[in-house]
């Protein structure tokens, strides 16, 4: 299993039966493939769907039913459609239990930067700012570093998406929680030492007393 799927599978274990979940574009979309047996979640798409299902089969694409990335999807029995104001009322109003997104940077205060890199073309924030402020739990799912350069920092340097919103970070190296005292490593991937994770991290890690081995 590659790093992205390993991360996605571990994130999926955070989801509880009955959760309303919004998955960001990219790695987070893989999470839907790994929802554990016996756990039923409702996927939200921020442009107006609850009950989003898998991608549409070739030849069965419906241009009126797309995901937030613009690709044709299906909906599951029990789904509903609504306009963007209702959808972001669901998000802002705290009715989404979990949102999972990628990050350019995340820091020990739970600050998130994931919408623009200074000096590069700006794609806009889309629904990211709303999602991380509104969702009850925010999980950052990403590769631990950007080709070796630190993404988990003591202080974000890129423009922020939101302040103090991230609850948990899950990477191929481990599982971390944002606490009042900083970033606590609670699980570590097989074969790595705490020093390996620390050296790949730009913030001082707190090591959980009951540090566990990370299983996908």
């Amino acid at each position: 299993m590659d790093a992205k799927n390993f991360i996605a599978k571990r994130v999926a274990r955070e989801l509880k039966d009955g959760d309303v979940v919004n998955l960001g574009i990219g790695l987070p979309t893989l999470i839907a493939n790994y929802v554990p047996e016996g756990v039923s979640i409702t996927l939200q798409a921020e442009h107006g769907i609850l009950g989003a299902g898998p991608a549409a089969k070739e030849g069965e694409e419906d241009p009126e039913i797309i995901n937030a990335g613009g690709f044709p999807i299906t909906v599951l029995p029990g789904a509903s459609f609504f306009d963007s104001a209702t959808s972001f009322g669901i998000i802002r109003g705290g009715h989404v239990d979990v949102t999972v997104l990628g990050a350019l940077q995340v820091d020990e205060k739970g600050n998130l930067a994931n919408w623009m890199v200074p000096g590069k073309r700006v794609p806009g924030m889309g629904g990211a700012m709303d999602l991380v402020v509104g969702a009850r739990k925010v999980i950052v799912a990403m590769e631990h570093t950007a080709k070796g350069s630190h993404k988990i920092l003591d202080t974000c340097t890129f423009p922020l998406t939101a302040v103090g919103v991230v609850n948990q970070i899950i990477t191929e190296m481990g599982v971390m929680e944002i606490t009042e005292d900083g970033i606590k490593l609670t699980e570590i991937a097989q074969g790595l030492t705490v020093e390996d994770v620390q050296s790949a991290t730009g913030a001082k890690l707190i090591i959980a007393d009951n540090l566990a081995v990370m299983e996908s």
């Binding site: 241009p63 797309i66 104001a85 509104g134």
Partner: protein
């Protein structure tokens, strides 16, 4: 009152300097027939376009922008339209970006007689620049003002001749809000039926909001 007209006739409502609300999320619910008429039959310029994403490389909006007729954009995600990205690089003031839910709520308020609202989204980010910040029950919020247009373009799946619109699936997005927030609202519909043939229970936009109705073409 007969609302059915041609796209070319309807888009005459767009004047120089207007603010134009354009429904759609990427290509879902994008009123391409109306935008194509704006491209080919109208010369209105100095337009301010309000759109979630200003379409994609396949949309007609990018062609209108290439004609230099769009001077400002209010949007949220513009990564799908390189022309809008270039506008932002050339002149930072020409593109205003909002969190997507903030943009939607600004338009909703514009149609609902609400002057503005306080939202927690954007606090502590560049979004708060120049905006009133106020604390309610210990939490910070930003004042966002309502947004309205002179003209709105929206797309329905089915409309009746009174203008009642059914927007299917994920096409409601911004169009359902914009139809309530402009002085003159043009809907295009894939299918136009007689009054009474569209189930009243399925109306996304009540017909009173629609000023002109145009048959969608495959464009």
């Amino acid at each position: 009152m007969d609302k059915i007209t041609t796209a070319a006739e309807a888009v005459k409502a767009v004047k120089d300097g207007d603010t134009l609300l354009v429904g759609g999320f990427l290509m879902a619910g994008s009123p391409e027939t109306l935008i194509k008429a704006l491209l080919e039959t109208s010369s209105a310029k100095n337009l301010t376009v309000v759109s979630n994403d200003t379409g994609t490389v396949d949309s007609n909006m990018i062609k209108v922008m290439k004609q230099g007729r769009v001077k400002k954009v209010h949007g949220s995600y513009i990564g799908s339209n390189p022309m809008t990205g270039q506008m932002l690089i050339d002149d930072a003031d020409s593109v205003t970006l909002y969190p997507q839910g903030t943009l939607a709520e600004k338009i909703r308020c514009g149609g609902a007689g609400i002057a503005g609202f306080y939202t927690p989204v954007g606090v502590g980010t560049v979004i708060e620049n120049g905006k009133e910040k106020r604390t309610f029950d210990g939490k910070d919020y930003l004042l966002e003002k309502a947004l309205r247009g002179n003209v709105a373009f929206v797309k329905a799946t089915v409309a009746d001749k009174f203008g009642n619109c059914f927007m299917r699936g994920s096409t409601k997005n911004f169009g359902a809000l914009m139809a309530r927030a402009a002085d003159y609202v043009i809907a295009e519909a894939k299918k136009i039926v007689e009054v009474g043939e569209l189930d009243a229970e399925l109306v996304t936009i009540p017909g009173i909001f629609i000023d002109a109705l145009v048959q969608s073409e495959d464009v």
